[in-house]
């Protein structure tokens, strides 16, 4: 099981490293979004709206990044994978891969967005830790939904409709918590932090349990 997961994860990372198309594409996507926001909001960008815009960018990037994990693979390829490994390990590998991908992209977005938006983050380390947690919860939330919508005909509409209501609570919590990290206030959000971690764990475990049912044919 453990060996299976690490091999699958290695396969995903190697594929990404060889092609680099997903990562670079997402990076350009982020960069253009950040530039548009910085230009459009020039002069009126305060830490509060900067923070909200940051997480909205991350939401769209996350949906695009995670969508790749099941939709871009061909059915034959997935069937081959399914014959080789157990569906639970496929899911765990995808969850970890999406987590890493989202963390890297969110970190770079944070840099671009802060640099171009001209915002100083008071507690960068806390913000980075929060991004690590946030990308984990987004990955846990979106990966299974992508697998579900990959089976339907109207994939992209379905992905947006299915994932948005599920992501809203997580996004709202992240916006609330990160506000204090940006403004350098003492955090009073310990409840929300625990809540977010709890939800992430529950959703990741549920994804692993439920995924075998999605890919059964």
């Amino acid at each position: 099981m453990w060996h299976e997961i690490t091999t699958l994860l290695y396969k995903e990372l190697l594929l990404e490293w060889k092609q680099k198309y997903a990562f670079n594409g997402l990076l350009l996507y982020v960069l253009s979004m950040v530039v548009v926001i910085a230009l459009a909001m020039a002069g009126s960008l305060n830490p509060l709206s900067w923070n909200i815009l940051y997480w909205i960018i991350i939401l769209f990037v996350a949906i695009n990044a995670v969508a790749k994990s099941f939709m871009s693979e061909k059915i034959g390829h997935l069937r081959y994978l399914y014959a080789l490994a157990s569906p639970s390990s496929i899911m765990i590998a995808k969850l970890i891969y999406n987590w890493i991908l989202l963390f890297l992209i969110s970190g770079l977005t944070l840099f671009f967005h802060a640099f171009l938006g001209g915002i100083d983050i008071a507690k960068p380390a806390v913000m980075l830790a929060l991004i690590l947690l946030g990308s984990g919860s987004l990955s846990a939330n979106l990966t299974l939904v992508t697998a579900i919508s990959a089976q339907a005909e109207n994939r992209t509409t379905l992905l947006a409709v299915l994932s948005f209501p599920l992501v809203i609570p997580i996004l709202l919590m992240l916006i609330r918590i990160s506000r204090s990290a940006i403004e350098g206030l003492a955090s009073t959000n310990n409840d929300r932090l625990w809540m977010l971690m709890g939800m992430t764990v529950v959703l990741a475990v549920l994804s692993t349990i439920l995924f075998p049912f999605v890919w059964r044919e």
Binding site: A152, N154, L166
Partner: protein, 269 residues
């Protein structure tokens, strides 16, 4: 079968009796006098039960979805038609959506009056929609279940639809449960259960005297029974429709079979 019929008669008559009682006594009983509220406090007998009914139906829907997934487990032997459970999960969600919408409407009408004059942390409320945490949770749950029906309509093959919809239903419930039971208690809001106790709602249910409670609890039970009743009617219609579809498909298949070649039973004899 007989016990099932007796139970049906009991809960259905209880639904009628309790809701009639709640409508008549709820409108005439004395309620705690709150400034600016007037007589609107009576809405607690109708607005709150909608959410109880909705939660019961949503839990039923998730319960059927979990049973459906257990049924589809290849390690287990199948005990019946999985589509049966899928129809039950779908219809429970459908009636749940009805109560969700009713709860939103009664809440909006109530808040228009009572939150209207209130000012909380610099905000004055005079609008139809107030972005109160519980209100938002209710809206998100409505969106989730509408998405559930959109997901269902994207699959034509019944068993695949049943499987995928059940997975989404269970997954969505995992997000909805904290949204309904934990988050509103952590945030400041206008509802009585939110974290700041001196909001407009205050602890209104706590101030209800024993006569008020004698309407409130029966009303909750009555609307829950009504929800189960609506569910069972919808469920029976849909089960029959599914069986009818199967019969018609079989018949059509049989006819086509006869035209092409003699039926199997004749050739083997």
């Amino acid at each position: 079968m007989k016990a099932k019929r007796n139970w049906r008669i009991i809960y259905q008559s209880l639904a009628i009796i309790l809701i009639t009682y709640a409508l008549i006594v709820g409108m005439s009983v004395g309620i705690p006098d709150k400034p600016l509220w007037g007589q609107t406090g009576r809405n607690v007998f109708y607005h709150v039960p909608m959410w109880f009914a909705m939660l019961v139906l949503m839990f039923m829907s998730v319960y059927y979805s979990i049973r459906l997934l257990r049924e589809l487990d290849p390690d287990r032997e199948r005990t019946g038609d999985p589509i049966r459970l899928d129809i039950q999960a779908k219809e429970a969600a459908r009636v749940g959506i009805l109560f969700n919408i009713l709860g939103l409407i009664t809440g909006i009408l109530w808040s228009r009056v009572t939150w209207n004059a209130a000012t909380i942390s610099g905000w004055s409320f005079g609008s139809w929609w107030n972005w109160d945490p519980i209100q938002v949770s209710a809206l998100i749950s409505l969106l989730i279940y509408l998405a559930y029906f959109l997901l269902r309509s994207s699959f034509a093959e019944p068993e695949q639809r049943a499987r995928v919809a059940a997975v989404y239903n269970v997954f969505a419930a995992a997000t909805l449960i904290p949204l309904f039971f934990i988050v509103p208690r952590m945030l400041e809001g206008l509802h009585p259960t939110s974290s700041d106790s001196d909001n407009v709602g205050g602890n209104f249910i706590g101030t209800l005297d024993s006569t008020g409670r004698m309407v409130f609890y029966p009303a909750i039970l009555g609307f829950i029974f009504l929800g189960i009743w609506l569910f069972s009617q919808r469920n029976r219609i849909e089960q029959l429709r599914w069986q009818l579809d199967n019969l018609l498909a079989d018949k059509e298949y049989g006819q086509r079979d006869e035209q092409d070649s003699p039926p199997l039973s004749q050739t083997t004899n």
